[in-house]
């Protein structure tokens, strides 16, 4: 993997590379995705890269403990449509880290992400997304389908 790593690093385009998958773990459908593994806080977890999505979306089970610890800035009472369903939640600042699989270095972005608010006992049944606003818009990225490599760097 990462045959372009040196080229892109030498030209200051990318600071890291990670493999991507074309599926969400457990998804039995035949939908093609671009899924990378991102650290949300200290948790490495799959996220669909979606340049058509306005916001990143992070599972509340992952996000909530971080928000309680960090006292992050937020905007409540936001509605956001995910795969045809409109959810209520909040936009919050949360650190997402892209991990370079070669060196282990982390590119940390204090992204603006949508975290759904669940009613008591409700379970979240959507995957995590890396969206454009407040995240991808601030970084350089490129993919090499020949090696399923996702290159990233700060813009």
């Amino acid at each position: 993997m990462a045959r372009f790593a040196k080229l892109l690093a030498d030209n200051d385009f990318a600071s890291g590379v990670t493999s991507y998958e074309d599926y969400v773990p457990g998804d039995e459908g035949d939908r093609q995705r671009l899924v990378i593994y991102v650290q949300v806080g200290m948790t490495l977890t799959p996220c669909i890269v979606d340049t058509g999505a306005t916001w990143c979306v992070i599972d509340p089970s992952l996000a909530q403990p971080l928000l309680e610890a960090k006292r992050a800035d937020y905007i409540r009472a936001i509605a956001y449509e995910i795969r045809g369903t409109r959810y209520e939640g909040a936009l919050v600042r949360l650190d997402l880290a892209f991990q370079d699989e070669i060196s282990g270095s982390l590119m940390v972005i204090d992204a603006t992400v949508f975290v759904p608010e669940l009613r008591h006992g409700e379970d979240w049944r959507e995957p995590n997304f890396i969206g454009l606003k407040g995240c991808l818009e601030r970084i350089r990225f490129a993919i090499d389908p020949a090696e399923s490599a996702f290159y990233f760097g700060r813009a």
Partner: protein, 239 residues
Amino acid sequence: MTYVTFSSTLTFPITLTSTASTTHAEPDWQALLFQHLRQAAPTTWQKVRNNLSLRSIIEIDQSTVLPTQTPRNETVDVTPHHDSLIHEMVDDEHLFAHLEAYARAHDYRAYKAEVANVHWACHAPTALVRTITLTLSHEWLTLAETLIKQGREIFPHDPTIGRIARTLAPSSITVVPGAAPQGLAASRMWLRTYATDYRGAWVAVYNGQLLGAAPSLEALRATIDPLEQPASTIITHIL
């Protein structure tokens, strides 16, 4: 120092038509005056007409004192003893009924035009906050950013608008050293092969091996904490 000049037309009962102009491009002095009016004379304030221009028409009794020249940032003494004629009310619910109808219809052009016609200094900051969240909820981001900018100018000390601005401020990016991950390819292969067997569960996979599975992330963490290596352990909810 910036001065604001009012040109006034007086009749009895006193009808004050005030227009404000300032040498500053920012509209904050007029905003400060309106804010002061809202706090000092809330009943009168409810009668201030939400005009399309920076002009307010207020009917007050003759005990009201409004200076003709007031230094910027100096408190204006506007304390009516009682209110007289009622003009068109500044009605937030009426405004939101329109905005929400346009938003539901995805009529951005009408929504934007309606928003542009509002002079936010005539409303409480909460009205602007509500409009910003409604705008964000329809992903009209450029308009939302315009409203936030206006909010910062008109209500520079409002904590909610400040928090909204910080939440949407450009992200910062830092690169920090970390431990090279171990066995991620094997863990991804495990997920590709076995994830469907754990539908509905949270799982942790390290170096191609299942560390644990539980119905919640909290329960999973209790199981795997001693073994977890964050850079190399994949944790996910199998949907």
